[in-house]
Each structure stands twice: as C-alpha cells, then as structure tokens.
C-alpha cells in the first residue's frame, strides 16, 4: 500500500512570512524586528552621545534627552536583546534537538507580533503630545505616576512593555515545551547542546519572572488612571521590588543564550568537543536559581531592604560564572583554533564580559555600591556586560549560523573589520565611563561640569566607531546575500545537529538524522571515521 502525504498548500509571498508557523521564519522575522529596534535604540544613543560631547545643551532639549535615554534603555532591553535571544533560540532549538517544528508554533507567532506591536506602540509615543516615555526604563514610582509624568507617551510605554514582555513570555513557554517534548529519539536531556541548555535555563527564568512584570505594569497603569496602587506607605518600595524581581532575571535572560552561542562557536572553531559539559550545565542551572534571589541588589542605596542577603547571593554568582569561563577556556585549551570572525567575537565576548562581570562583583558590595550605583560606573558595568558580552556573542553567533540560515557565507574580511571597529569602539565608549562614575558623574544627566569634558568626548567618538562597526555588519549581510559564496551543509565542522541538514534547512528541518549518542553527534561521526 502506498500512502501519499498531501501537504496543504503553503501561502507564499508576504502572507507566507507574516503568518508562517515555521519556527525558522518566525525567528528570522523576530531577528529582523529586533535589529530594527537595535538600530533605533542605537540612533537614540548616538543622539545622547552627541549631546554629551561637550558640557551645556547643544542638540536636544532636557525633555528630549529624558525621552532618548528612556527609549534607548527600553528599546535595548525589551525590544532588542531579550527578543533577539529568544529568536535565536526559536530558530536553533528545534534544529539542535532534531525536531521538525517548535511546540505551539501559533503561540510563537503570536509572541512575535505582540512584541512588534509593543515596540511600535512604545515608539509612537514620540508622535503624541508631551512626547514619548521619559521616566527611564524602570519607571521608578512615583516618578512614573500620572502627576509626575503626564502625557500619553508614558501610558503607551507601559502598554508597549506589557505587550512585548507578554510576547516574550508566550514564546518562552513554546520553547520550554519544545525542549521538553520535541526531542528526537536518542536526544536525552544530558545530550542537549550547550546552547540549548542555556536556552532552557533562560526560559525557566523568563517564565518565573516575566509574569511579575506583566502584573506590575498592569498595576502601574491602573495607578496612573485611578491612583491608589503604589501611593501608600511602602508603595514606592513595593514597586521597585516587583520591578526588579523581573529586572534582574531579565539581565541573565539577556546573557545566558549568548554565553550558549559563544560556547558553540568556541567548540566549533577549536575543533573540539565542548569541555566540562557537566560543570557548564550545572553552573547554568545554579546561576538561574541564584538569579531569582538577587533582584534587590539594585536597591542597596534605598535604605529600605536587607542588603546583606542580596549582597551574599549576588557575590555567590562568582562561582557559576567562574565555572562557565572554565568550560569555555578549557575548550580552547587543547583545541586547534581557527581565528574566524565568529571566533574573534567569541574571544572578544570572553574578555569584555569579564570586565562587566568583575565590575558587577564590585557593585554587589553595598558599601561600594553606595558610591557607585546610579553613576556612570554602573552604566559602564552593564554596557560591558550587555554590549561587550551579549552583543559580541550575538555577532559571533551571527557569523557562525548565517551560512546555515541563508546558505551563504558572510565575508570574513568585512567581519574582521567589524570586529576591530567594535572592539575599539566599545572600549573607547565604556572604559571612560568607569572613571567618570567613580569621579562622581551621575547617570541620566544631560550635561556635566567642564572637568569631565575630555573623557565624555572620547566616549562620543567611541559611540560613532561602534556605529560604524554595526554599519559594516549590515553591509556585509547585504553584500554576502548579493554575491553569494555557497556554504554547503557544514562549512565550519560544527558539532550539533543543525549542521547535518541542508542550508537553509527544509520546512520540516530534517530528511534524516544521524545517531545521537552525545551532545556533539557530528563529532561522534567524525571520530568514528578516523
């Protein structure tokens, strides 16, 4: 008997994309949307850096400056790095676990469009009376109440944050169900790739902490409309506690997937099985568990919380973070390292994130944080972590997986130029901030005393060097798609299942699967051939 599988005709063209239930298309649209918001947030950053190039007000008004830093921070956190992390997971997880599809693809699609709608609503704030949101990305209460920040822009910001985070939460559920329920035969939990493990920890944190923000945003909007939610005794503290219960785990949501990407890149370009896999997965889970109990380290200077508890849990993060470095560097040691652009970005990630992590240990000590919190030292700390860390690892992943996604290789020469520009730019921009903050420059100020001028000017130059680096990346993508250098299935000798299938993968990902006996099944086959 012959069975003929009749596939439902797939909608083509625009509808085939925007209504796709193919995890790869949803993920690519989400990457594109995140990169769009990345560019918009980057333009906001360049405007701020231009204003701060010298003391006094030159380019924007005080109010516009407040809108710019609010939208820059919100755009990067809610609309760029978090959805980007989930998008990469959405693309790669089914491929890495040998699945044909993501679980609940329609929910994943819904998540994408909720996030896009949220982002658009947030930005439309610039078009209404009184301008866009201007209470900062964490909208401290009562600054964010109706009396202190009037105007619909702030309400639109709350709505935008709510929708974007709701979309991220839904997608996290979809990814968790995929990892738990869609693994190919033989793909046990202890054979998940390092990236998939990092995504598992990520979605666990997201599902635990994001709903708290949804509730907080709903309560904040209710307070703006009717009052009375956070206005009583202890209300402003309660707002901060609720916000940071989301706001710190999200920092690791914006970090773990990227450390996972760096792990894959380091393993592939060291031509060597990922080292200390068990320690790495254990450290990721320990990190995720601790991350749920560190939130109020953002509140050491409030005088309203138990500092010692949060200082202890935060400083303890040294242990899992150290184990992650152990695994990544251990993979390099003993390898045969090829200095591709992806590997350079992964090494850049290791070095720059280290500065972010070490300065993080400093601000985890309350007596030190009393001085450094809300200063430029702190701005430098989280930019080293999120820009030097997460985004460098993203670009490592971009150069590594672009051939899988498109079938074409990115240009190495342009890639190395981009790496150089971004490495120099990041340090020019963020290192002087450490000094300025220590010397007493508060964050979120539109001007500063003349003695801070030269370091600020240096940062402004650095900001534009970064922008040039990002521009080189977009040129590289455009040029590499225009003049294609075909990649084949496995251009770099990758360890994981996505390199088994064609580039780009077919609609249902695999026509066949190799035997899965470890977390690096393609290395198993290579070793068998030897």
């Amino acid at each position: 008997m012959t069975t003929v599988a009749l596939e439902r005709p797939r909608p083509s063209g625009l509808v085939g994309w925007v209504a796709s239930t193919d995890h790869k298309r949803i993920a690519l649209m989400q990457v594109a949307a995140s990169m769009g918001f990345f560019v918009a947030s980057g333009i906001a950053a360049l405007l701020m850096r231009s204003e701060l190039a010298k003391p006094g007000m030159q380019i924007v008004s005080r109010q516009s400056y407040d809108e710019l830093f609010t939208i820059h921070g919100s755009g990067m956190i809610y609309l760029t790095v978090t959805p980007l992390a989930l998008a990469v997971g959405l693309y790669l997880i089914p491929l890495q676990i040998g699945a044909a599809e993501v679980a609940w693809p329609r929910l994943a699609l819904l998540g994408l469009w909720l996030f896009v709608a949220g982002g658009v609503i947030m930005y439309l704030g610039f078009a209404v009376d009184h301008g866009a949101a201007k209470a900062g990305w964490f909208a401290t209460y009562p600054l964010s109440d109706a009396a202190n920040t009037s105007g619909k822009g702030e309400d639109m910001w709350i709505c935008g944050v709510f929708l974007a985070v709701l979309g991220n939460t839904i997608q996290s559920g979809s990814l968790l169900a995929t990892i738990v329920g869609k693994r190919a035969p033989g793909m046990t939990m202890s054979r998940l790739s390092p990236f998939t493990w990092s995504m598992l920890a990520t979605v666990l944190m997201a599902l635990t902490s994001f709903p708290v923000l949804l509730g907080t945003m709903a309560a904040l909007e209710w307070d703006r409309l009717h009052g009375g939610v956070f206005s009583g005794h202890y209300g402003p503290v309660a707002y901060q506690l609720l916000f940071w219960f989301y706001g710190h785990p999200v920092v690791y949501v914006m970090f773990f997937p990227f450390v996972g990407m760096a792990a894959e890149v380091v393993s592939a370009f060291s031509a060597r099985r990922f080292f200390a896999y068990k320690g790495f997965t254990f450290s990721i889970l320990l990190f995720a568990a601790l991350s749920m109990s560190v939130w109020a380290h953002h509140m050491f200077a409030t005088g309203r919380i138990n500092n010692e508890y949060f200082s202890l849990t935060s400083t303890m993060l040294i242990v899992p973070a150290g184990l992650e470095y152990f695994a990544l560097i251990g993979t390099m040691i003993g390898g045969a390292i090829v200095f591709s652009t992806a590997m350079l970005f992964a090494i850049g990630f290791l070095l720059l994130f280290l500065i972010g992590g070490l300065t993080g240990i400093i601000v985890a000590s309350p007596p030190l944080d009393y001085h450094l919190t809300d200063s430029y030292f702190y701005v430098a700390h989280f930019h080293y972590a999120l820009f030097g860390g997460s985004l460098f690892a993203f670009f490592a992943g971009a150069y590594y997986w672009f051939p899988k996604v498109t079938g074409a290789l990115l240009r190495e020469s342009l890639g190395k130029l981009q790496f150089l520009l971004m490495l120099v730019g990041a340090n020019l921009t963020f290192f002087p901030m450490l000094v300025l903050g220590f010397e007493g420059m508060p964050r979120r100020v539109a001007t500063y005393p003349p003695r801070f001028t030269s370091l600020n000017a240096l940062e402004t130059v650095g900001g534009f060097v970064i922008a040039l680096g990002v521009l080189v990346f977009f040129v590289n993508v455009w040029w590499s798609l225009r003049r294609r250098v075909e990649a084949g299935n496995d251009p770099f000798g990758g360890p994981t299942l996505e390199w088994w299938t064609s580039s780009p993968p077919p609609r249902l990902n695999f026509d066949s699967l190799p035997p899965i006996r470890s977390f690096a099944p393609l290395f198993d086959m290579r070793d068998d051939r030897r």
């Binding site: 402003p236 200077a301 400083t315 390898g335 280290l354 240990i361 400093i362 007596p367 809300d374």
Partner: protein
Amino acid sequence: MPLASDTRAEFTSLFSLYEWVMVATAAIVFGVVLWAAWRYRARRGQTPSAKTEANAVELIFAVILSVVVAVLVTRTFTTENRVDAIASNVKRQVQVTAFKWGWRFTYRGTGVSVVGDNRHPPTLQLPVGQPVVFTERSLDVVHSFWVPALRFKRDAWPDADTRFELTVDRAGVYAGHCAEFCGLHHTDMNFTVVAESPARFDRWLAAQ
C-alpha cells in the same frame, strides 16, 4: 583607625581589596585566554585533544572561587556594619528634605534652615571630624543624596524617612548631586558641601 562613619575611609579600604582581586582576576583570565588562543592556534598536523572533563581541577577551582566569595562577603559585611551604624548620642542632626528639584537642609534644634533649587543650588555646611546624623525625606518622587567625595549616597523617599550618619574627614568644598533620576531638572538638582572646623561651623550656625 578611621573615625566612626568616615565613609570615604571605609570605601577606600574595602575598594582597594576588591580592586586588587578584580585586577588580578582580569590579568589572569586575559593572560590565559590570549595564551590559549596563541598556543592552540590551528597548525598543520595538529589534532585537537579528546579530553572532555577535568573534574578534580574544576572542583579545586570551584573551592577557590568559594573562598574568594567568603573573603569578599565577610569584608563587605563588616564594613557595611560600620558604615550603616548610627550612634544614638550624636548631637549634630540635619533634616534633609528633597523635592523637585532642590534641597532643604534643616539643622535640628537650631531653627537654621538652608534651601535651594536647580537655579540656586543650596550649600550644606558641615563640621569636620564630627559625626552628623541625617534624616532624609522627599516631598514628591524618589531622590538620592550623593556626595561623591564622601563615597556615599542614600535615597530619599516620599513615604518614609531614611537615616544615615556621615563624618567629613577633612575640610573642603565638595560637589553633591541627586543620583536618582527625578524628572526634567534632575541634571541640575545639585548642592555644595562646605566642611569646616567645628569652631567655624558653630560661628556660621550662630550667624544665621
């Protein structure tokens, strides 16, 4: 021994420990990463190692990290206990009132009060070498009292008082800022600290 509540000395001492640990860690990790990258660069005929675990080394490493955590946390806690302590018998008391966008400093029991806003920032006069207890409150949003030279800041809340004790260790003129973003004129919500000998401070107080 530093004076009680000499926040600058406490900060400097604790920071030097952290700075030393961080610079050493950065030097080691940078060194190892760059060494590994160079030493294990791909060359002809080189086969990558098949080793995948080093449990003993990893365990020792984790123990070392835990010891570092213990040392840092212990020093942090003992320092914080001193920085946060408020003596019960401090005679100099200042009420700090923060508002959009300025400060009022009221010297308890003297009727002296200094106020200023973003256009005319106020001056906070303090005696050198004597502890001063501050009680902070905001009239509107959350602000934060920061004197970078004293290495200390503390938030001012609308719903409750916060209290802290500071001792300025040397005479001078220091900048002070609001450190918590508080709206349109946050940038200019500044004040100046003028620290003088107790005798001169008392003369200033009496002249008000």
